[in-house]
């Protein structure tokens, strides 16, 4: 990266934004060091708490503006859980709600210039993804006992194909947490790298004002992607939960 600066190429490397830096000083990063990651994680959590604490304080029949936003989140996720998992899934609604709101806020706060996006770190999304995987697997065995393994044994398939399908199903089951976490991190990381690449074209605006439309358009796309990725992560959690509650399709 340094040699590119020397060559007079890109001044800001598009991937420099993902470097974890301590907030104070230049020391090594320990587990207790306050870094830009922990700062933006804390801001995301504080924003979540603020929205729901302030939103549920009034409890007006005619909701205030903050309350109606909080109710919008609640109703949206509640309906999603109910539609995908059925009535039994509603018990696990708080977990899914927490995941959605946390990802939503860390995605959107990362769109502020000079901020850091915690969800672009595979370490953070892997904790979320493997957390869902372990929770769902344990829940499946607790709820169904050994018959949870029926998830891998297709009763409708021809008898010869069943062992082959079982192998494929087992592999796809264990790839789930990997793809679940890498999808979120990869989308956010790729999106922010593209944003920075387009921001590098900003100087071109002096030559041709059309460049500004490109930046605005790609930013709009990112706003869309941030919402969709939070939605996709949550609905896949719901689908995995449904598999644990009803393994026999």
């Amino acid at each position: 990266m340094a040699e590119e600066k020397a060559e007079g190429g890109l001044v800001f490397h598009p991937l420099d934004q993902f470097i974890v830096k301590p907030l104070f000083g230049d020391g090594p990063v320990q587990w207790y060091t306050p870094t830009n990651v922990t700062l933006w994680l804390a801001i995301a959590i504080l924003a979540t708490i603020a929205l729901f604490v302030i939103g549920s304080r009034g409890r007006g029949v005619v909701p205030s503006r903050v309350q109606s936003v909080a109710e919008l989140f609640y109703g949206f996720i509640y309906k999603m859980v109910e539609d995908v998992c059925g009535k039994e899934g509603v018990r696990y609604f708080p977990y899914i709600m927490t995941i959605f709101v946390f990802i939503f806020f860390s995605n959107y706060l990362a769109l502020i210039p000079m901020s850091y996006s915690p969800t672009s770190m595979i370490a953070i999304t892997a904790v979320l993804g493997f957390g869902v995987f372990i929770a769902v697997t344990v829940l499946g065995f607790v709820k169904n006992g050994p018959s949870f393994l029926g998830l891998f044994w297709m009763k409708d398939a021809p008898a010869i194909l069943r062992p082959i399908i079982a192998v494929i199903e087992v592999i796809s089951y264990f790839v789930r947490p990997v793809s679940h976490s890498i999808r979120l991190a990869g989308n956010i990381m790729a999106g922010h790298a593209v944003l920075k690449v387009f921001a590098g074209f900003a100087a071109l605006t002096l030559v041709s004002p059309v460049a500004i439309f490109g930046i605005v358009a790609i930013y709009g796309l990112e706003v869309l992607v941030c919402g969709i990725q939070a939605y996709v992560f949550t609905i896949l959690t719901c689908v995995y939960l449904k598999d644990a509650l009803h393994p026999h399709h």
Binding site: D83, I182, G186, N187, I235
Partner: protein, 74 residues
């Protein structure tokens, strides 16, 4: 020499993004075709649409990840 080969490999891995684009286009196009034939059933299938998009897109993201690894980690 190895660095140059890694960059060529990163470029080759980027072909995977195009393949994912074909997949995403197939999902969205078929959804739209079905939705125009039976608009009343379309609203109930948006969740399935997004799940399909996510699965198709994940493989493109894997390709992107491979090229990033080749560029910066190898």
């Amino acid at each position: 020499m190895e660095g140059e080969l890694a960059h060529i490999g990163a470029g080759l891995a980027a072909i995977g993004s195009g393949a994912a684009a074909i997949g995403v286009g197939t999902v969205a196009g078929n959804y739209l075709a079905g939705a125009l034939r039976n608009p009343s059933a379309a609203a109930g299938q948006t969740a399935t649409l997004f799940i399909g998009l996510a699965f198709a897109e994940a493989l493109g993201i894997f390709a992107f990840l491979v090229s990033l690894l080749l560029m910066f980690a190898v």
